[in-house]
Symmetry: C2
């Protein structure tokens, strides 16, 4: 009786269809401009069907972002697996992070720039499987490599990691929200920030 399995496959399929439709709409229009009804229209189901597969709009967004961020993870993996100077790899990783954010502004916004829900879920951040946290862990590992090679001024890996994260998040976030601002060339700015940060933490 493969019937049950076929059913399950079909169920999984619809779930994926919802995710795809939602992702595309979120990407093109931004989370808050997409209603559940619009997503439902796109997949030609009734709005309430979505609730059979996802608890609410927030969970749907979370899943969509998780998919996107796993792409960043493989991207970062490729960069960090290459040999070379730890500081160079660190720079390349940081730049990749920023560029990813800018290429996926709505998903970046959703994972890193959204207000904390009132009943904050600390678990979401300490949970290492969380989409964004995995990316941050990459940064941590880079910093450990650099520390082992004695490349840094400070010796606290956590402080260095968080400092670098704050820095790259800053450019990413500003370039996303302040599109109209008279920035210097994007690439120039990104490189400037990353260079400044790495110069700042590196041993003199």
């Amino acid at each position: 009786m493969g019937v049950k399995e076929r059913k399950l496959r079909e169920k999984k399929f619809l779930r994926q269809e919802i995710l795809d439709a939602a992702s595309e709409l979120f990407v093109t229009e931004g989370y808050e401009n997409v209603s559940m009804r619009r997503i439902a229209d796109k997949i030609e189901y009734s709005p309430t069907t979505i609730y059979l597969y996802f608890k609410d709009k927030a969970e749907l967004l979370e899943q969509v972002c998780q998919e996107t961020f796993s792409r960043l993870i493989v991207h970062l993996t490729r960069i960090l697996d290459q040999p070379g100077d730890p500081l160079d790899r660190l720079k390349r990783g940081l730049i990749a992070y920023v560029k990813f954010g800018i290429e996926n502004p709505h998903h970046y916004r959703a994972t890193f720039m959204m207000p904390i829900p009132p009943g904050f879920d600390r678990e979401k951040y300490t949970n290492p499987d969380a989409p964004g946290m995995q990316a941050f862990d990459f940064l941590r590992r880079c910093v450990f490599d650099g520390l082992a090679a004695g490349k840094f001024q400070d010796t606290d890996a956590e402080i260095i990691s968080q400092t670098l994260w704050a820095g790259v998040h800053g450019v990413t976030a500003l370039l996303i929200t302040h599109e109209g601002f008279p920035w210097v060339d994007h690439d120039v700015l990104i490189e400037s920030v990353v260079d400044t940060l790495v110069r700042g933490v590196a041993k003199a």
Copy 2:
């Protein structure tokens, strides 16, 4: 006939009452969790009255933030008017910026972390009277001072300014949105970011 003027004064007064009520609610609950009806309740007027004084909710928020940010301006002015090494003043200014953001998270979010409305208003950012832009100009001035004193590695004031802004915005934004994250001590992190940035742009 002072009647007309009294009327005008009363009108201004109600406007200010709305601003105050809105500000308090925005501060305690956050922009998106405050409805026009709640604001109206607080001042004991009907919801639609607000629209006689403000075009829409966004404009109301904008005015509220403007008020708040002018406090940052006077704060920064005090710091920058003190004598001393340009880099030291720069550091103090940057730290003040971050602390202000963290102490006014909702207003900071509203001015610097909100998605750009679809029909972007470039004018809002180039306009030097805009609340946030005035603060950024302070940073620019600091950088000019430092450049004049030959303190920086790079020579482009705009690149340096934007780089520093990105950096401090990063900590501010992350500390605001990721309250639950296992940060190292806030003050330690803030100081680390500012030190790193200034070390990064300073002449070796």
